[in-house]
Amino acid sequence: MTQRFRPPATALRRLFVGGAAIALVYVVLAPLSSTDAGQQLGLPFLTDRLWFRVATTVAMFVVLASAWNIIGGLTGYASFGNVAFFGLGAYTTGVLVSLRQWPFGLALLLAPVVPALFALVIGIPLLRLHGHYFAVASLGVGVAVGEVVNNLQPLGASTGLFLPIVRSNLLFFYLMLAAAALAVLVTWVILHTRFGYGLLAIRENEEAAAVIGVNTTFYKVAALMIAAALTGLAGGIFAQWNTFINQENVFPIEYNVEMILMAVLGGAGTLLGPVAGAVTLELVILRLAGGGAAAAYSQIGLGVLLAVTVIFLPRGVIDFFGGQSRLSLWALRRSLRETSV
């Protein structure tokens, strides 16, 4: 496939980066204004405590989407089972805190470890599969792990687990934000090392990668383990933050689809694409969310968004900022021509 060179849209790119930097500073500082000291000083950022839930959730999805990006975007293995890592991380923390009375900080250290070990065990057989086979087999993992947990009496079965309440929205927000920063940092490091080049080589042509000396099994399993560890960390924080976990809230297959959609919408395989996708999409989803009929409408909205993204923006939004395409009717038509019959 030949691609004509086009100068990057520098003005747009600058605007985008500048805007993102301002937003980031705001996000990091705004929570301080809700502390009692902040209220007294009258810090001018934002004082709505409800805002924490939104911001923490968004940060959580930044972790999930970035972690998925490592295995799905960089390595090219579309995992539909990452939600199992989230659930396992949550249950690791949940069990240690609520049944073994460990302090949360100590339990959180194990939240990435258990999912990573699980990824090692399932990764060796599953990552031998390709394409649909891998996608659905990993989907099976996501569904099956949740089902098994839901049936195990020692884990609270369908009742779930209750954790002692820790009242500190600030703590969970900054923990989640730190996890998000860690996920982006890990992606950056991977992209700039030999390991990352190996993953990209596997994505582009696995046999060729093996021929030039990439130990593909090791690379793929390692990528899955890193993704699992990050996802599990987010799960561990979520467990204590939400104080209640069961199959429904830590193994929802919708989370898995959302993280993929976020990465694809933003730009799979890029550093900041999943972040941009996660922030945008999660804000839209939270805006649409509601109970009863509203929930059904928001699901329909998500479905339509999936279709539109997949059909019109297969390379993700980030591609338009400094990438090869510009946001134009022409670019949309071209991407349609490439993929349709």
Binding site: P125, A137, G140, V264, A293, A296, Q299, V310
Partner: protein
């Protein structure tokens, strides 16, 4: 002993359901290379049509099967022609996400139209069965198995003995060569997907007789269809039959095994899947891709 025999019978009859559900899934996967995540939703649409006809108009569930097939044929044709054809050359992930989106929309619409209440289709003869010594064979299960075999026969006939089937097989073998000899790709793709959806609709009509219908009841069928196709192998009608019957047996024996229960049906499906993928990736009767 007689208990085991009874379980074997029930397993084979349940296998009939899996055969009917997986036939369309296998066709779409084999020819279009699409793993249709909306397949379970198609099944449930069929179930709802049968339920509406049965509860409002008193139509016998078996007589409503052609209606299920027709409605889903039309829906499937439209979806493939209008949406999925546009991403058919894109990487696998995209058709995956698109069909998941379609699934989401269908399930939510069903939720809005029919509410999440449990619905069931219970004609007079449900519950009666044929007694052979200590083994009972439910009539409905027997009829379902028969219809599943009939569907398989129809699919085999269409694929191997008709001009349309030849076109479908040609497209499955080599898309570009098929186009070169004058086959209208868009139409054949849409037709294949429509046939797959129609089969799902008939399977749905049969399923309403066995379990309660809810908007989300279709989701497990997608994963189970996948397991059946993996188990039997891709690209042959006979492989789907073998996979479906075997999967039915595994389910019944697995769910009745000590320590397991109804809560583990997906876990069993997945365990079967991984074992087969690890040791015999082409399935029992499949051809190597």
């Amino acid at each position: 002993m007689s208990q085991l025999l009874q379980q074997l019978v029930l397993g084979l009859l349940l296998g009939g359901v899996y055969v009917s559900v997986a036939l369309g899934f296998s066709l779409v996967w084999g020819i279009l290379n699409i793993v249709n995540l909306a397949h379970g939703a198609f099944v449930i649409i069929g179930a709802y049509i049968t339920w509406v006809l049965f509860s409002r108009l008193g139509v016998d569930p078996f007589l409503s099967l052609p209606v299920d097939a027709l409605v889903l044929f039309a829906l499937g044709y439209g979806l493939q022609r209008g949406l999925i054809n546009r991403v058919i050359r894109a990487p696998l992930l995209f058709t995956f996400l698109l069909t998941f989106g379609i699934n989401l929309v269908i399930v939510s619409l069903l939720l809005l139209i029919f509410s999440p209440d449990f619905r069931s289709v219970t004609p007079r003869y449900s519950g009666s069965g044929l007694s052979l010594g200590s083994v009972t064979i439910p009539y409905i299960g027997l009829a379902r198995l028969g219809i599943a075999m009939l569907l398989a026969l129809v699919l085999w006939f269409v694929l191997n003995r008709t001009r349309i089937g030849a076109g479908i097989q040609a497209v499955g073998a080599d898309r570009d060569a098929a186009q070169l000899v004058g086959i209208d790709l868009r139409h054949v793709y849409a037709l294949t997907f429509a046939i797959g959806a129609a089969f799902a609709g008939v399977a749905g009509g049969l399923i309403g007789l066995q379990q309660s219908i809810t908007p989300t009841a279709g989701d497990p069928f997608t994963l189970q269809s996948f397991a059946v196709v993996i188990l039997g192998g891709l690209g042959r009608v006979s492989a789907t039959i073998a996979g479906g019957l075997l999967f039915g047996l595994i389910q019944v024996l697995g769910l009745n095994a000590p320590g397991l229960g109804a809560g583990y049906s997906n876990a069993i499906a997945f365990a079967v899947l991984v074992v087969v993928l690890a040791f015999r990736p082409q399935g029992l009767l499949g051809r190597l891709a």
